[in-house]
């Protein structure tokens, strides 16, 4: 394979990989979640659909509506 085609192919592959990472990150950000930070610095994240988030997210929705 000529080197020019190889470089083009690699650039296309890298571009599509970067694009898919960005799209996935944006999609993940749009998911609702609750992050709890403990005093020891640890963090627990509960995404929508989990039992923990089901307890906390309705209160947040209520606060944002009012």
């Amino acid at each position: 394979m000529p080197p020019r085609k190889l470089v083009t192919g690699m650039l296309l592959a890298a571009g599509s990989l970067a694009g898919s990472v960005l799209v996935r990150r944006r999609a993940a950000r749009k998911r609702e979640r609750v992050d709890l930070y403990s005093e020891d610095g640890s963090m627990h994240s509960f995404s929508e659909g989990s039992p923990e988030a089901l307890r906390l997210l309705p209160i947040a929705h209520e606060l944002l509506r009012s």
Binding site: R29, K30, E32, R33, V34, D35, L36, Y37, S38, E39, D40, H44, F46, E52, R55, L56, L57, I59, A60, H61, E62, L63, L64, R65, S66
Partner: protein, 133 residues
């Protein structure tokens, strides 16, 4: 060290440096609202009461919760605790989480706690012997 300021000034500074923050309430340990940028006192009370419920529910899951963020598509709710006091805020969607937490902590620590007046002591009554002398 942070200089202590009144709640209105601290909240004004917070919303100026952090435009992502919409509404804020500083809540004392007894649940009273020390300061808020909500013009309606009832709305400030609702924010404080909702934040308290959020913290209570979070503590049932993790007993040592110091701060939390509930992120929704409409925006986020942040609560930061410092001792018995806490600050609650709502923000625009997808805020810069670290910055908001930092600004809320700074705001809470700079707000003066309400002055607790010590009960006035009565002067001891003069002894009967003193009055006679």
């Amino acid at each position: 060290m942070l200089a202590s300021v009144d709640a209105a000034q601290a909240i004004g500074d917070l919303t100026e440096i952090s435009p992502q923050v919409r509404y804020v309430a500083v809540v004392e340990a007894d649940g009273s609202v020390t300061g808020s940028n909500l013009s309606d006192a009832a709305a400030a009370e609702r924010l404080a009461e909702g934040a308290k419920r959020l913290v209570d529910e979070a503590q049932a899951l993790r007993p040592d919760v110091a701060q939390l963020e509930a992120a929704t598509v409409d925006g986020s709710v942040f609560v930061v605790r410092d001792g018995g006091r806490m600050i609650a805020a709502t923000t625009t969607p997808e805020p810069t989480v670290g910055l908001v937490f930092y600004d809320l902590k700074t705001c809470l620590r700079s707000v003066d706690p309400p002055v607790q007046r010590a009960p006035r002591k009565r002067a001891p009554k003069k002894a009967a012997g003193d009055a006679a002398a």
